[in-house]
């Protein structure tokens, strides 16, 4: 073992000397690895970014909230089975809340009704079209992960009294009130005036996924008063303990069946969704992107590896006589093998390091150019690319190093 460490150390010195002696060649060869590592690292960062973006967008849904809906949150092949289901009514929330109160060991905290529509919003000369307009109760903030940047969410009195108040998303506020505070200003929705009482903290949008920034929320009572037409309604239910998700889901299913008055032989005519289920429908897409991306960029690294293998073969050929001399002076097969393996690995490591530095610079640049895209240059990524470089060096150097170690000393010495 000690002997091996000694040999490794000596081989490093030889490798370093070899690289210094043929700088141009080393740099050109390492270039392949540099490009490969840049590509793989950037792709890794992008995939990480996509992951973070998805997670962030998903967090709007909350990981401790169940959603009772007519349609499931996934693609269904038998849509006709869902089409004729009864709509989910906002009144269910009250019924469920009463049931929760009566059940002492309930896993559920509170049910909140939501209705939504797309509406235009105006203030002065500014207008934003197709804003996701949500009607709900004051309990909504219990189920939500979003805070107010300015002002507040509406309270129970406003909620019950159908007050004309709205809480608006960051982007909506930005578009309507570019240079003033929106608080206590009145905006026009569907010809009705609503007083702005709160602005949400910026959440950021990602790949056009649903975001708080472009929506508004108002009391359900007011919502029903003005936009009774064709709105979509759901009921969301907050859990006590998110680790008991399955229990809570069963409980809620029971409650909903009672609400709907379903006899035992009938199937559920509603769906209970949670964030995780939604995530898992997106996972295959995400994984395909990740796999394809890494595969394609991996190819460029592969080309780099072939370059290293090629140059190591050339190096072995050129130094055949040297190998013979080394063997005559007592180098063992293992020593020669190590020497060439380390030479190719050193090249790859240097290439990997330079590539990583480039990738880091490019990431910082991209991060500045697209602030919405969550770019993270993680320690894990650095480690991974260094490991990939070392592996590339070992794998591409192995065949030539093996050839070198097996050379017959006399043949090698005679080589011209």
């Amino acid at each position: 073992m000690k002997r091996l460490i000694y040999e490794l150390g000596e081989s490093w010195k030889i490798a370093a000397a070899q690289m210094r002696a043929s700088k141009t060649r080393s740099i050109l060869t390492a270039l392949g690895v540099i490009i490969g590592i840049v590509a793989v690292t950037l792709m890794g960062t992008a995939i990480n970014g996509i992951q973070t973006g998805f997670d962030k967008s998903m967090s709007v849904l909350g990981d401790d909230v169940l959603y009772v809906t007519q349609w499931p949150w996934k693609r269904v092949d038998d849509w006709w089975n869902y089409r004729d289901r009864k709509k989910i009514k906002t009144e269910y929330a009250e019924t469920i809340n009463r049931m929760i109160e009566k059940a002492p060991n309930s896993n559920l905290v509170v049910a909140v009704p939501t209705s939504s529509l797309m509406r235009s919003i105006k203030y002065g000369g500014n207008e934003v079209e197709n804003v996701f307009t949500l009607g709900t109760t004051s309990d909504f903030i219990i189920t939500s992960t979003v805070d107010c940047k300015e002002g507040r969410f509406f309270n129970e009195i406003e909620s019950r009294g159908a007050a004309n108040v709205v809480v608006i998303g960051y982007d909506v506020a930005d578009a309507l009130f570019p240079s003033e505070s929106p608080i206590n200003k009145s905006v026009l929705i569907n010809g009705q005036l609503f007083k702005v009482i709160g602005v949400n903290t910026r959440q950021g949008t990602f790949l056009g996924l649903f975001s708080w920034d472009s929506m508004v929320a108002m009391p359900l009572t007011a919502f029903n008063k003005y936009f009774s037409t064709k709105s979509e309604s759901d009921v969301r239910v907050k859990l006590k303990d998110k680790t008991k998700l399955a229990d809570a889901k069963d409980e809620l299913t029971g409650l909903m069946r009672r609400v709907r008055g379903l006899p035992p032989e009938k199937k559920d005519d509603f769906t209970i969704n949670e964030q995780q289920a939604f995530k898992s429908t997106l996972d295959p897409v995400k994984n395909t992107i990740a796999f394809a991306g890494l595969f394609i960029t991996g190819l460029s690294l592969f080309v780099g590896a072939i370059g290293i293998m090629n140059i190591t073969f050339v190096s072995v050929k050129e130094r055949t006589k040297e190998i013979g001399t080394r063997k005559a002076l007592g180098a063992r097969r293992r020593t020669i093998l190590l020497q060439f393996l380390i030479e190719s690995t050193a090249l790859c490591l240097v290439g990997g390091f330079i590539g990583l530095s480039f990738a880091f610079l490019m990431c910082s640049g991209l991060g500045k150019a697209f602030p919405d895209f969550p770019i993270h240059f993680s320690v894990g990524l650095v480690l991974m690319s260094m490991i990939v470089s070392v592996m590339t060096g070992l794998i591409s150097g192995f065949a030539p190093a093996w050839t070198a170690s097996r050379l017959d000393p006399v043949t090698a010495l005679r080589y011209e």
Binding site: A17, E322, A331, L413
Partner: protein, 248 residues
């Protein structure tokens, strides 16, 4: 012709070969480079192997140096059967027991003298301080104390061969094998190299030398003539007049 005893007290047997053969297969044809060579070499002998080109001198030398394995025959080095050794054991013998000096010097072109001489010590696993110390001493011994950090291309032919001799010596081997060490040198530098070998011999080293030239062979105390892969003659001789040149 004299007996060995009259020159020096006999040492123990280092090399003992019997009926050694070596065939090279070249397609259809088989080249019989050695056809049954028997030889005993004792510690502190100075032996020259002579013979016409193609007679098998280098082949025999490679065999003695454990660089090559015989086709048949017995070879004992310090009482151990070489045929039974694996690759690592052969490498260890080459490293510790044998010092090679090549006609073409075979120095590593990009390393300085010190680093070249250190090589066998690296393979012996010595620590850097000891290595440098011993390599420096070996270079001083061949008169190159002031050329430690010269690369081979910054040295003359004779100096290169002296670096090679220092490298062969540095691990204190049982024998030094020199295959035409003066073949690439002019006669004056050749004489310098020969006087170094002479001094090594006087200090108790065992030297085996391959040469074409009888002038060079005259330095040895014993001459083996090869012809067509067989020993033609094996005789002990008085050394010719060797001027005891100081190294410089």
């Amino acid at each position: 012709m004299q007996t060995l005893d009259s020159i020096r007290p006999p040492g123990s047997i280092v090399i003992d070969i019997e009926n050694l053969t070596k065939d090279y297969v070249m397609g259809e044809e088989i080249v019989r480079a050695l056809r049954g060579v028997s030889l005993q070499i004792r510690r502190n002998e100075y032996l020259a192997i002579m013979g016409p080109s193609g007679s098998g001198k280098s082949t025999l030398m490679n065999m003695l140096g454990c660089l090559d394995t015989p086709t048949s025959g017995r070879y004992e080095f310090n009482g151990k059967h070489v045929a039974k050794m694996n690759d690592d054991e052969l490498a260890a013998i080459r490293n510790r027991e044998i010092g090679f000096v090549f006609q073409t010097f075979n120095l590593l072109p990009r390393s300085d003298s010190l680093r070249n001489v250190e090589l066998p010590l690296i393979y012996a696993g010595l620590d850097p301080e000891t290595r440098e110390e011993r390599a420096t001493q070996a270079l001083r011994d061949v008169g190159l104390g002031d050329r430690l950090h010269h690369k081979p291309n910054e040295l003359s032919g004779g100096q290169r061969q002296r670096v090679a001799i220092a490298r062969a010596l540095v691990n204190q081997p049982s024998i030094i094998l020199a295959d035409e060490p003066t073949g690439n040198l002019d006669s004056k530098t050749g004489a310098e190299i020969m006087s170094i070998l002479e001094t090594l011999y006087e200090h108790g080293h065992t030297i085996i030398l391959v040469t074409h030239e009888s002038d060079i062979a005259r330095h040895a105390r014993r001459t083996v003539h090869l012809r067509d892969g067989l020993i033609e003659s094996d005789e002990f001789v008085q050394p010719g007049e060797v001027p005891s040149l100081a190294y410089t």
